[in-house]
Structure formats: C-alpha cells, structure tokens
Symmetry: C2
Subunit: 415 residues, 2 copies
C-alpha cells in the first residue's frame, strides 16, 4: 500500500482513538491478547519461516535467538500486553488548572500525540509491545520492523487489526509497512503532515539517519555510554558491588556501565581490589595509561575511541582522574547523557555532581541499571530518551501523550 | 567568528550557567538593564544606520516601523527585561518525587535545555527579549537576527556581553552570528553536538526551512489559522462580540481569528447581523458559496486556498456548516492547531468540541486572542508552539527547561 495512504488512514484513525474511552481501549487490548492466544500455532509457523530464512542468510545465533518466537515467549508477550491493560490511562488527565484574573478557566489536558512512527529491528515482540502502548494512549501507530521478521510481523499485525475491527475500532489504528525497501524509511520520515513523532529503536546508524532525514520530531535514545565516578570518600566494598551490578548484571543493555572514573588518591588500592573482584566474573578492564600503570597485566591498554564506545560487553573502561572537576570534564565529553553516577560519602561533592552532570538520569550511590521504565515505576517503557526535549530517560505511557490548553469562558473577550 | 567555535563556546558557557544560582542570574539581568540605559544614545545611533539602510533598500513603512528603536521603545524593552528579573526561576524545581519500592529516592529536577539557537527577523527587541529569557533559565543562546537590524543588534549584543562579563558570567552565554550570509542558518541547524533547541521566529518559509534542514529539535509555531464555530445555540450578541474581539483587536498577530464557521440553521440571521456589525469596523468577509448566497454583496467570494491562509488582516473567512461534524472536519483540514474555539450554549456539544479538536488551545465561549503567555499567566513568552512535542501553545520560562531524573541510593544495586 502507498505510504501516503497509510499516513492518511493513520491520521484519520487517530481522531477516533483520541475520543475513545479507556474501557473501550482496554477491551480492544484484551481482544488482541485473546486473539494472539487463539492464533498461537499460526504465529509460530510464520516465525519458523523467518528463522529458516535467517539461517539461510547466515544470521548469527544471537540474532536468530532475538528473532525466535516460541510458546513460552509468546506467553510472556501476551502477559506484558495484559499488564498494559492494568495501567492507568494518562489521556484526559487535567493539570495546571487555574482561574485566571481575566476570567478564563484554563487547564492543560493530556491528549494523545496523534500518529507515531516506529522503526525497529529484529525483535518481533516490539510489534505487539508498541502497538499496545500506542493504542492504550490513543495513538495510531505506523510500524516498520526489520526484514528478518517480516513473516512473523505480518501475521501479528493481521491478528491485531482483526481484533481492532472486532472491538469496533479502526483497523488502521495499527498499520505495518510491508515493503521492506529501505527507501520507504526515508519517505516515512518526511510525512510530517500525518506523523507526529518518530521513535527509532535501533543502533546509532539508524538514529543518525532519522536525525538527519526526518522532518518529524524524532526521539533519540537507547544508546548509553554510562559512567560511574568512584570519588575518594567512597566505601570500597559498596562501590565495587555497585560497579559489578552496573557492569555485569546485563552487559548488553543501554544502562550498563561503560566507564569507571577513579580518584587518583584511592586509585592504586581501589583498582587492585576491583580487578580482583571483577576478573573472575569475566570482566576485561580497558585502561588509559595512568590506570594501566596501576593495573599492569590485569588490564588491557585503551585505544583511541574506547571511551566513546558503548561496550555492550563485559569490557569496562577505567580512567584515573585528579578530582571531581576532571571527572565532570570526562563525562561531558564522552557521556551519551543516558545514565551517570557518583560513588561517594561526601554530601557536598555528591550535590556538586548532581548539579553539574546533565544526563537523563544522575545517580548517587546507586547502579546505572536502575534507568528503566519498570524500575522507575512507570509500568512500561517505550524507549529511553537521551535527548533534551519532550521527555528524558525512560518513556512510559505519559510520554506518549502531549497536552492541549482548554480555556472556558462565559463569553469572554480580551481587553 | 567560525560557527563551530561559537557553538563550542556556547556549550561551555551552558555548563557554567546551569550551576549559576537565581540571584546571580538576576543580578546579571539588572546589570544588562542598567547598561542599556547608560548606552541609550549609542543604541539609537546604531538603529539610525539600520533605518537609513532600510529606506535606501526600499523597505515598506510597516517594516521600517518594526525596525525602529527610539527612547520610548527602548524604555519599554528595558521594562520588560526588569519584569523577567521578577519572575520565578523554574530551574531547580523538583517534581514527581517518590521513594521507590527498590529503595531509590527518585525525582525529576528542572534543568536548562542547554544551548538555544534563535533565528528571527526584523525586530531588534527580540535580541534583548530572547537573551534575557534564556539567561534567566540558565541557557546559553546563539542569536541570528535579520540583516536589516544588524547595526542595532551588534550594539545590543556587545552591551549584553560586557554586562555579563561585569557580572562574572561568561560573555559567550549570549552570542550573535554577525555574518548575514544565509548559508550560516543552514550550518547552525546541523550543529546538534552543541545546540539543543532551535526556535525559528519568522514566517512559514523559515519554519519549513528549519523543519527540513535541522538535525536539532525545532520549535514550530507562531502561525495561527484560527477558527471559531458559532453553533446553533450560541447567543448572537455575545458570539458577535467574541468574533469582533478575535478578528479586530489585533488582526496582525497569530491568535487573531481567520475563519468563522456557522451552523446552517442560524446562518441567515446570524450572518446578516454579523456583517452589519463588522462592516463598519473595516472587516471584509470572504465567503464560500453557501455563505456568499446569504451575504450577497456584503461578502466577497472565497478563492481556492483562502481557508488555508493566515490572513493577518481584517479579512475573515466565513463558511456555513451543517453541524458539529462538518465543523470538526473543516478545522482538522485547515487549522494550524494554534487556537480554535466554539460559541455555544449546549454543554454537551461544547464537550464534544473540546474533546475532538486537537489544537494547542481550545476555547469555549472565549476569544482566540487569549492564547498568549501573559494572558495565560506565564509572565513571558518565548514562542507559541503549534507542534505536539515538548510544549504546546504559549511557551514561558518553564518551556525553556527540561528535566533530569535524580536518583539517590544508599549503595543500591538492582536485583
């Protein structure tokens, strides 16, 4: 189908969704959940085609694993969908209400953004996930998944659309770009007359492409070059436990630790202890010269660019700094403004760090791993924004809404 | 000076501004106010050069008037600057604070956006205005005014920079792009490593250019194709008073009325009365066929595109609609999502209108002219956003900030 037609239909569906009440949206979500259960066999069959094609085209085992939908994974996805049903609907909330001197009764009311375009890669669970979060918040969605999951996604979207229709909502509330030609992404990014927000869920290449080519506001995020700064008053054992958690618990995600900065006055003792603790866990320390001088064979030498990388592995950059000032300078230069923290017992230094570091999430004596929608109590997560506007950090349902001003007068003119 | 250097210096200044307290920022603003007073003669001399150049290049009287800075206008600008001093500083406000189940003490804290690029046209007052609002909110600014005001702006910016230095703040907190080559705007729009937000204050051509060429988030706004819908239960006299206010009070601004929609059941009587009332005020009714049939010689026939124009004049588009449904359809197709309202005594219809119209400001029985920072009690206005993300409608100081999540733990790891 023509992309312009998809956009127009999505816009029209968004008008209807915007005035659909929470009960009806929840009923539609439950209908989708039931339909996914009823069509489990068909979904798994389609997924086998993707897996087969993936094997033939030589995808890595890791990628094939991301593609895979089996009974248990599908069950988990349906469980997530039902938990979206149980969340509060932010649409319709009113805030900042006031009766103005001029007589106008004014407030802001949360409303859907409208039409959201989502560009993502191999995981088929994203299809259900995003469609559900958009629907819950009254947004129409246009989905563009990777070509590796095309069979799975087409079946999933058909099930969603049939369920929408059965629930009395427009099936065009969730649409999928079936044509896997990459040029269509470029076209989608220019459809600002129909699409209100673009969420690229993918690597930095995709994000950069969207930033450069989109005339629609883009949510940049999901890439974390995260720092912890072990200040000289830090409790060694507790600091090492946090560093371990931040680095080792799930190294492949964006809130995992990438770089440790250590005050030079504690560096010799602290780094020895750290290396001893982390090496058995499989962590490779990647050290700049001062840290390398302390660690010797326990670290490999950092190469140019290593401190500007999101490792997504058990590598950990290590750098010795003179003081808070140098730590701040390093973070400003290298952080992706996702999650950065300080480990300290000095209240004043902690405050200075919080004030000066301008990342989406700034921590004191806590793991960077907390930057997550469910950890933050948002109930769901659409993306983790690392940009400044609209939303920062984990984006939940509320961040899929905007507001409008509602002004009510008793036949009021401006004087 | 090289634009990249300007960007880098602005970014560095933004780090310092972000940790500058409100008192110091207010002192700097007062120092600027005093310096503007002390250098009044020099400013007016420079402005005369702009006026002279404007006359030579054949600018219209209206444009020359916008350029003009005399003692009285400068006094008003300085007055506005001092009123910015008296406003509350949003930076540092904490909200949505909670102690999470996992033990993390979490809140959002308002912080400056960082570096704001502002592209504007002839009015030299914008230079002071924007510099002051950015400074108040801890943002560095990069200003790009029109070439018509270059002499005035260079003097104003030098006065601001000297005052900043005298106040112990970096003079690079406010910078001006002196080179009037248009290519530099295109370059500025790509400097996403330094600039966090672009505000184009100008016509739709400038806004479109920014939307198409910027890799930095752009605040689109300030263009209002505004509607009022006179529903069949509207009180005629009160409705006409609101329409007059919305159209006549200040036709050249974005919140002025552009199109009136009238229910067909009241159209004959209502439009006759309206024409009688508005014609002596100089309003020209521009009517589609049904309205024209009623108004006859009292209206001119609408041409294609007339309902998609921001008039900025005493013209008023008039269209007869069947009902709410047709009115909503027209508004969706033609509104710039700035300000749209309904005139009615039917509570249920009013609610349906509020729910269905998705403009930045939606009114019931009130003039569209209320969409304004000072009318809304924001104290100041940077722009009026008509886009969905970050901010909608009048943007005050708070809309020049973003937030960061601050998480404080007692040596907390994620389980």
């Amino acid at each position: 189908m023509d992309l312009q037609v998809i956009g127009k239909l999505a816009k029209e569906a968004s008008y209807e969704l915007a005035v659909t009440d929470s009960n009806k949206k929840n009923e539609a979500l439950e209908t989708i959940a039931l339909a996914l259960e009823a069509n489990q066999a068909e979904i798994i069959e389609a997924n086998k085609l993707d897996i087969q094609a993936g094997i033939e085209s030589g995808l890595t085992d890791a990628l094939l694993d991301r593609l895979l939908l089996d009974e248990s994974r599908l069950g988990a996805i349906i469980g997530d969908l039902r938990s979206v049903v149980s969340l509060a609907d932010p649409v319709g909330q009113e805030f900042d209400g006031k009766l103005l001197e001029n007589g106008l009764k004014l407030c802001k009311r949360r409303v859907p953004v409208g039409v959201i375009g989502v560009i993502y890669e191999a995981r088929p669970n994203v299809t259900i996930d995003i469609a559900a979060l958009c629907l819950k918040t009254g947004n129409a969605s246009i989905l563009r998944g990777g070509k590796e999951t095309i069979h799975s996604n087409l079946v999933l979207v058909k099930i969603i659309q049939d369920a929408l229709e059965a629930s009395g909502l427009p099936k065009t509330a969730v649409q999928y770009i079936e044509n896997t030609d990459r040029a269509l992404v470029g076209q989608l990014l220019k459809m600002d007359q129909y699409v209100d927000m673009i969420i690229p869920r993918g690597n930095s290449g995709l994000q950069q492409f969207c930033k450069e080519n989109s005339t629609i506001p883009v949510i940049i995020g999901g890439i974390g070059i995260c720092h912890l700064y072990a200040e000289k008053t830090a409790d060694f054992d507790k600091a090492i436990a946090i560093i371990e958690n931040a680095k080792v618990q799930r190294p492949s995600v964006c809130n995992a630790l990438d770089t440790l900065l250590v005050d030079e006055s504690i560096a010799p003792e602290f780094l020895e202890k750290l290396a001893e603790h982390l090496q058995p866990l499989g962590v490779t320390l990647v050290a700049e010269p001062k840290a390398k001088a302390i660690l010797g064979d326990k670290a490999q030498a950092a190469e140019p660019g290593d401190f500007s990388r999101e490792w997504l592995s058990l590598n950990l950059g290590v750098k010795v700094v003179q003081d808070l000032h140098e730590a701040l300078g390093h973070i400003r230069e290298h952080s992706s403004e996702h999650s950065d923290g300080i480990l300290t017992n000095d209240f004043s230094i902690a405050n200075k760090f919080i004030n000066a570091v301008n990342s989406a999430a700034v921590y004191v004596n806590a793991s960077t791993r907390f930057t997550d929608g469910s950890q933050f109590g948002l109930g769901a997560e659409v993306a983790v924004s690392t940009q400044k506007l609209h939303a920062r950090g984990p984006m939940g349902l509320q961040e899929l809404t905007t507001y409008k001003w509602v002004g009510i007068g008793d036949n009021l003119i401006r004087s």
